[in-house]
Amino acid sequence: MAVVAAAAGWLLRLRAAGAEGHWRRLPGAGLARGFLHPAATVEDAAQRRQVAHFTFQPDPEPREYGQTQKMNLFQSVTSALDNSLAKDPTAVIFGEDVAFGGVFRCTVGLRDKYGKDRVFNTPLCEQGIVGFGIGIAVTGATAIAEIQFADYIFPAFDQIVNEAAKYRYRSGDLFNCGSLTIRSPWGCVGHGALYHSQSPEAFFAHCPGIKVVIPRSPFQAKGLLLSCIEDKNPCIFFEPKILYRAAAEEVPIEPYNIPLSQAEVIQEGSDVTLVAWGTQVHVIREVASMAKEKLGVSCEVIDLRTIIPWDVDTICKSVIKTGRLLISHEAPLTGGFASEISSTVQKLCRIEDYPFYKRGKQTKKSKLLGQAQWLTPVIPALWEAEEECFLNLEAPISRVCGYDTPFPHIFEPFYIPDKWKCYDALRKMINY
């Protein structure tokens, strides 16, 4: 009985993977389907499988961009790519398996619509895909490369870090590959294990010259992806694969842009700042509700959106206001991007840097000055005081992240920084 149940579990995973994943690469794909007759036990197995660790929260229907349509994440990506290829005759999409529609269906229909010279498969070689994309971009054409899983981006690391990121700088701006965008599925998916779950943004955060962008939802994805494609710098766009189907909301059909390097405060609050990106934004949103309900704590929730260059001002302003910061990501703790945010915030968060902000509320003056402009009157005296910065924080900055292990398979529910871990860290900060 246990064997059948286990086998049924495999079937479910296979089906799920086959529908939305590259199951050629998953172990056990060779099991014969005939062996596994769907039976009553299948439903039990489904109930016993872990439910998702988050609940997707759609944003309100956007009204300023024209007609919308309900789209999930992969459909919103398709829509963005469709808009790009329609607008820009030089744009091409390439990578492994993109021709038939892609293992996550992000490129469905595009080859038929735009032609096989514009949407095409490449051989199985990530360093080739990115190098090839750089070359296209060097001629000024728009290159949209797909790396099938972020876990497989590492063969292309040299091309990205040593070449793409440095093309403009090293040539004195004679040449650049700004019209290159690399898209890749990213993050945990429930069963992806070591090689279908990684979040490698921290590796690239250390590389000046590229931009790294991660959306939390279909609406965000389309606007951010369009901005990446149009941006004059090479961009990496990580797409949370668990959201491909799970996240659906109204998305404008026409193209629109969401600016890069701007974090979004999706919920205002006064007691603690919560920062995350991608799927984890939905986790911390839920943590904010839990905090309100159980602790009476008001949380400010921020989606970072662009990892580099990141929006230091928005985060700092928020932490000046609340005095507490919690950052959460799936990637391992050590060297994860939360460490960069943490280090920068603790150094920069002095009242003197943000003179028109008062703890607990936004003053009239700061509101008038708007987003980032008030930061520019940099008085030399302030900067001389840089060395004697002091903490403006009510509690140490909290990082709730994956453990310093490779991403495990069966232990995923224990590995991920779920809402309970975030809630617990928040509680400790409040009681500090």
Binding site: V108, P123, G135, G140, R168, G172, E254, P309
Partner: protein, 479 residues
């Protein structure tokens, strides 16, 4: 509205759960030149590109390129159990019932095409490209000017005036022979030992020197080590230090050129050592599968720093790898400017006409050290170097040709040596005197626009220099 609804885009998937298997799709004619069916034997003036598959492997020698690479012919055949022919999608071949391993042929490898002998005499008159006098003189003067510049800049490194240099001794023929066969707008991706290509394209001495000195005239804004030249006007992509990274990039550029109907070829230079990198394999494979108009030009000069070719590869050099990828390939005498010229010319013509890659392996010898950081006497004999310098040098061979044509003589040689040396010295002295660029240029061009945080770092350096400036070489830099 220019975009249909997503439903329309997803129509195929909504109808069924499976995607169409390749076998069901009707064979479609690839977007490519109709000239691809050209037979193996067709070639200009006797030089022959080796057509894949290799003779020892193929069932039929002289087969044209596989026609439709997206849908190999096998998949379009009707499957029949009575038919005993192989049905595998992965290879187009016959069955054999004898167990036999293919022996790689390295004793008698791919032959080396040449036009002139070592004394500069044309061997087969029908292969003589009959270049006009001005062009041959330009070839000669480019090579010799490069040689002179190399000597002076190598010395300047030894004297501590520039930090680093790489000479091109012995390989000048590969540069100018290939450059002369290209259009001026053909895009060049190089490795680091192709300065002769820029020289042939009339890149001014002043700019060569400016880059090596990193002075304010350097178009690269002083960011890279010497010899990392780049020139947008002359379509020479800026050199980078990592080896072979330019190979898949060149392929991408060629693909874009094809899409743009630019009638442009991309040429990609690399050494036999760089050809061992994964990027080289990636580039070759992509170029063939995506049908790109690109010339892969390998300078096989015998050494990768200290590593001789016997430790770099065991196969028959780089040319033999081409057919493995489905690439037309040839091996030429790299010290024979006319052979290099002929091969490049023909490769260019066909690459553009047929949208397929060509691989040219130019055999040559690196007479100089790898760089100023290398002393090659540690790993090779002086006799070996002398042989190439005295007995088989591209400059001498062309000079003999010029002399035999009556287009050059000792007097002109003397005069030119003086003149070229004077030109180089003038540019050299000018370059020495110029200041370096403003330190603010340390911060620009990381992105197209400077990010706020980087601007803060720039301001932080400015403040630091206000207090500690005396400890920095500010006098040499532009204010």
């Amino acid at each position: 509205m220019d975009s249909p609804s997503l439903r329309e885009l997803q129509q195929p998937l909504l109808e069924g759960t499976e995607c169409e298997t390749p076998a069901q799709k009707p064979g479609r004619h690839e977007l490519g030149s109709p000239l691809r069916e050209i037979a193996f034997a067709e070639s200009l003036r006797g030089l022959q590109f080796l057509s894949p598959p290799l003779p020892s492997v193929s069932a039929g020698l002289g087969e044209p390129r596989p026609p439709d690479v997206e849908h190999p012919p096998r998949q379009q055949q009707q499957f029949s159990s009575l038919d005993d022919k192989p049905q595998f999608p992965g290879a187009s071949a016959e069955f054999i019932d004898k167990l036999e391993f293919i022996q790689p042929n390295v004793i008698s490898g791919i032959p080396i095409y040449r036009v002139m002998d070592r004394q500069g005499q044309i061997i087969n008159p029908s292969e003589d490209p009959h270049l006009p006098k001005e062009k041959v003189l330009k070839l000669y003067k480019s090579m010799t000017l490069l040689n002179t510049m190399d000597r002076i800049l190598y010395e300047s490194q030894r004297q501590g005036r520039i930090s680093f240099y790489m000479t091109n001794y012995g390989e000048e023929g590969t540069h100018v022979g290939s450059a002369a066969a290209l259009d001026n707008t053909d895009l060049v991706f190089g490795q680091y030992r192709e300065a002769g290509v820029l020289m042939y394209r009339d890149y001014p001495l002043e700019l060569f020197m400016a880059q090596c000195y990193g002075n304010i005239s350097d178009l690269g804004k002083g960011r890279q080590m010497p010899v990392h030249y780049g020139c947008k006007e002359r379509h020479f992509v800026t050199i980078s230090s990592p080896l072979a990274t330019q190979i898949p990039q060149a392929v991408g550029a060629a693909y874009a050129a094809k899409r743009a109907n630019a009638n442009r070829v991309v040429i990609c230079y690399f050494g036999e050592g760089a050809a061992s990198e994964g990027d080289a394999h990636a580039g070759f494979n992509f170029a063939a599968t995506l049908e790109c108009p690109i010339i892969f030009f390998c300078r096989n000069n015998g050494y990768a720093i200290s590593t001789p070719t016997s430790e770099q590869y065991r196969g028959d050099g780089i040319a033999a790898r081409g057919p493995g990828y489905g690439i037309m390939s040839i091996r030429v005498d790299g010290n024979d400017v006319f052979a290099v010229y002929n091969a490049t010319k023909e490769a260019r013509r066909r690459a553009v006409a047929e949208n397929q890659p060509f691989l040219i392996e130019a055999m040559t010898y690196r007479i100089g050290h790898h760089s100023t950081s290398d002393d090659s006497s540690a790993y090779r004999s002086v006799d070996e170097v002398n042989y190439w310098d005295k007995q088989d040098h591209p400059i001498s061979r062309l000079r003999h040709y010029l002399l035999s044509q009556g287009w050059w003589d000792e007097e002109q040689e003397k005069a030119w040596r003086k003149q070229s040396r004077r030109k180089v010295m003038e540019a050299f002295e000018q370059a020495e005197r110029k200041p370096k660029p403003n330190p603010n240029l340390l911060f620009s061009d990381v992105y197209q626009e400077m990010p706020a945080q980087l601007r803060k770092q720039q301001e932080s350096l400015a403040r630091h220099l206000q207090t500690y400036g005396e400890h920095y070489p500010l006098d040499h830099f532009d204010k």
